[in-house]
Amino acid sequence: MCDQTFLAATFGPCDSCGKASPLMNIYVKNEPINYCSFCVEMMACQGLQSGETLTSLKKESENLKKKLEEERGKLTDVELHQVAEKVEAVAALSIKTRRVLKGHGNKVLCVDWCKDKRRVVSSSQDGKIIVWDAFTLNKEHGVTLPCTWVMACAYAPSGCAVACGGLDNKCSVVPLSLDRNENLAAKKKSVAMHTNYVSGCTFTSSDMQLLTSSGDGTCALWDVESGQLLQSFHGHTADVLSLDLAPSETGNTFVSGGCDMKANVWDMRSGQNIQSFDSHVSDINCVKYYPSGDAFASASDDATCRFYDLRADREVAVYQKDSIVFGASSVDFSLSGRLLFAGYNDYTINVWDVLKGNRISILFGHENRVSRVRVSPDGTALCSASWDNTLRIWA
């Protein structure tokens, strides 16, 4: 499934010398160019300062990495859990399963809440997306897509549309109609086109722009109306598995995590990678911003969840236990940011105290891997999606 095709070979006239030959499709400053291999060699040798060789560049990057560690280390005067010792411990939580949403025919892969705090959209391996009313368990809409493994789904801010994507390498937007009899699949509009599976998608502040992450190692920002690519984000060296948009007050950035074990923070306007964190030792399955926008958490196959502060530019907490050996697939914060809900491949959801670093409780109930956990927009409930074909609402 993780098939990377960074340099896809095609045949045709070279953009530089005009000769027909096998072409390397590469990106220079986010612009795709098709050069034959000879012209790529020539281009790479241009602009090499005298004496600049592979070894000198490697040495410089090692030095820079060391400098980066030193700079980060200088500001580590105390650990987060030490500062948090003076905070009261969290009282026992009374969170239980309040609803079980049954209806999918196969593994539920993704879930997202609507801003109205009661509707959720879920997508499944069976190729369907379902919009549920979480209060009444009513299924309001169902759309069958031509592909299986719909790995990503998102609700539009207006509540009038949903986006979904997966193994079809596309992300499509489906407008939700109030007319029950209308065939929603017919109105589906393809917006994003990637060269590998779509792993995550989210609308930006309006219904007009869509941000996607893909197994082809890139993230991209699309205009929904025209389907045009507005900005692409290159920097990951393997599949990107997850992305999250910064909460609106803090501006135009988003964080992504992937199979290269890195979490990158990007500027949406310039496409620039502004910060990078690589303390995980296995694939990062999920990234999520802290409600204030100054930090984010990540969940990984290495059975840990980690918490990174953006202004201090470092990891400030690791949520792990020797007894937890299964990978974490998804994380989300409670409204105040004090609780971190993490779904694991051992069928449980662990609730961590973000500040103190200890586990507060375990939520049991699912009968297979938990694929996604999402807290409702007003913080009253948690929705979890699982490979046991159901979703659960916890409150």
Binding site: V40, L57, V78, A91, Q275, S276, D313, S336
Partner: protein
Amino acid sequence: MSTTNNIAQARKLVEQLRIEAGIERIKVSKAAADLMSYCEQHARSDALLVGVPTSENPFKDKKPCIIL
């Protein structure tokens, strides 16, 4: 061919690291204090943290009334 890829990649890496090394950072103690104050400010409205009475939470089923 692999050498040119490596040079281009190495150059990109060096440029990226230069950008990252140059950003402004604050001390962990200040960052931690800000995170804690955010949590405290919003703790009261966090339903999953403090719990809300059954009557107010739309997901918690109200106990059926017994009419005597």
